[in-house]
């Protein structure tokens, strides 16, 4: 047998090669700031984008925030133009109120099935006037405002909804829950957009790549009974406090104690709630310290020099560009930093909170009488990650977040070819890092999408 014959033989022994056509489209899962950035980058490069968002509006966590650190820009002022751009972009197919049902196929050609839940309002007809909201007799807790305010059973998801279409809460609505034959919104709507008969729809499409950017959750502090969250009204979470600070939030931007309704004189921030805690999550939430500083500076601006602000911290981690200067700014504004995490928060019947903290640098036990305690709840993995991991065959790392292919060299890719990760679903991070990873993941996806064909091995 000569060399040529041997090569021929080996080639026949090797698994047969097959090639698949690469679809010039991409599925983006999640419509937060990361998903928005990924979609805009890919759509501007000429690829067709299917942006799937579970909530009735895009915007995600960033839409809930009051301001962003370290520039102190208004969060929604930065986000809104991008949200509108997504909604109006010819290359982006925005699917809100939609969840992923099934994913099959290989990199370059994934077959995706999504299910669009009914919102009982026709997205094409609704003009966004909001006439239906005022007539609705049913009050429900406002999820966007963390339950601090009530909204109606038919309402916009948030004041900044994109698309600007109302949604009916089918569990609370009198008609949809079968309690009463109410038709108040139906009569109020001039555009004839309300449709109680709307059914869920399934869509199928093929995409070349998938980018997962579903974001992360925030720790529920009621699991830590020593801090009194849920027991004492004046102990609130940092996301609730963001809504309180927002001018369009439940208090119109005024800082008030939930129990007495008065302006607080002493505010205490407690860091590292739920994170850096082996009972719950061991990782550092990456943003808590800076969120504390930002909120403390905002309190100083809103309440003036008379307010006493204390930050109880474990380590102060100000690691990014402009962050150390931001920390310095907080110190120069008279924010008091206490090195030590309070062991417990106690309350008197009138709502005054007693916070005992052992100051590490002074070696003394200090007691604070606070009017308001803000808990800096950490960024934690979502419960849905288990389902997502199964759906996309993407593994999870030990901290519960989705696992990237390589922590140093392939931070944008999942171990599955053609599936990319961006934003806080890969690990806790701030807005700037999320946006950076979004553009990185979009670029990596473009490498795959720009090929005409992709070889796949058929074993």
């Amino acid at each position: 047998m000569n060399v040529e014959q041997t090569v021929q033989l080996l080639e026949n022994e090797l698994p047969s090669k097959r090639e698949t056509k690469v679809e010039k489209s991409v599925l983006v899962v999640g419509g937060g700031i990361t998903g928005i950035q990924v979609s805009l980058d890919l759509a501007n490069a000429g690829f067709k984008v299917y942006l799937v968002e579970k909530a009735p509006s895009i915007g995600g966590r960033m839409a809930q925030l009051h301001r962003i650190y370290p520039t102190l820009d208004n969060s929604i002022n930065l986000l809104m133009p991008k949200m509108v751009e997504v909604a109006e972009h010819p290359n982006i197919n925005l699917l809100t109120n939609t969840e992923i049902l099934e994913v099959n196929g290989v990199a370059g050609n994934y077959k995706v099935a999504v299910i669009k839940k009914p919102r009982y309002v026709d997205e094409n007809k609704c003009s966004g006037c909001g006439a239906c909201i005022d007539v609705c007799p049913i009050y429900v807790s406002d999820r966007f405002n963390e339950g601090l305010r009530q909204t109606r059973a038919i309402s916009f998801y948030s004041p900044y909804s994109v698309p600007k279409v109302t949604t009916i809460n089918s569990e609370q609505c009198l008609r949809l829950s079968g309690k009463e034959n109410c038709d108040k919104c139906l009569k109020a709507c001039e555009a004839n957009a309300i449709n109680f008969e709307q059914k869920q729809k399934t869509f199928n499409f093929n995409v070349g790549a998938i980018i997962i950017c579903v974001g992360a959750d925030v720790f529920d502090a009621s699991k830590m009974p020593e801090l009194g969250y849920g027991r004492f009204k004046n102990v609130i979470s940092n996301i609730e406090f963001e809504r309180v600070l927002d001018d369009y939030g439940p208090t119109g931007g005024k800082i008030l104690c939930p129990q007495s309704g008065k302006t607080p004189k002493t505010i205490v921030f407690i860091s590292c709630v739920g994170c850096r805690d082996k009972r719950f999550y061991q990782h550092c939430c990456n943003v808590g310290c800076m969120v504390n500083l930002k909120q403390a500076i905002t309190v100083r601006e809103k309440l003036g020099d008379d307010a006493e602000i204390y930050i109880c911290f474990n380590d102060m981690r100000a690691f990014g560009k402009g962050y150390e200067e931001f920390y310095e700014k907080a110190r120069s504004l008279g924010v008091n930093f206490l090195a030590g995490i309070p062991a417990e928060v106690r309350s008197s019947p009138d709502g005054t909170l007693y916070v005992g903290v052992y100051e590490k640098t002074l070696n003394r036990l200090l007691e604070l009488h606070a009017d308001l305690v803000v808990l800096t709840n950490g960024v934690i993995p979502r419960e849905e990650f288990a389902k997502l991991s199964e759906l996309f065959h993407v593994p999870r790392s030990t901290d519960g977040f989705l696992q990237e292919a390589h922590s140093k060299l392939q931070p944008f890719e999942s171990p599955v070819a053609g599936i990319f990760l961006a934003g806080t679903c890969q690990g806790p991070k701030g807005i700037s890092e999320s946006v950076a990873q979004a553009s990185g993941a979009a670029a990596k996806a473009m490498v795959l999408l720009s090929k005409r064909e992709r070889a796949i091995l058929n074993h």
Binding site: R331, S332, L366
Partner: protein, 169 residues
Amino acid sequence: MSLTDLTLMAKPNGELYKKVLGKLAKTELLECFQCSKCTGGCTAFKLLELIPHEIIKLVKLGFIENLIESGIIWTCVSCLQCTERCPQRASPYHVITSLRNIAVERQAKVPEAYLKAVSQILETGLMQPIEKVTTKKMETVDREKLNLPKIKYPSEEFKAIFLKALEGI
């Protein structure tokens, strides 16, 4: 004030804090982030347990009353190493000096050595008394023996100015 020190049962004093601020040239001198570098190199800490970073923290929180009454602020030897080395351009030395000023104003107990130094200046114009020196041959000598020039004692004019300055504090 909503803060209490449960270890010493002390309450912060906002007025005293404002007084300290008034004596400092800039608030930057108080902007400490508790790296404890000052204490690490403090001359007085090694002998007398002065903790500069703790003093700054106590002043910032308003626990000034006890500081002024304690003798610890008088142990600073004014070597200025803390001011030189501070990564945040804070200065425990300046803070301690302003605390001493307040202590004198409130007629708190001032260590004898400081009072001695004042009378020494009045008498001789020098911080320290002129001492005799023991040589290697175990001979005790004074300036006269070493043929050093005589020290001029301060004029009456200087004394008047110095006493006036002391009254002003």
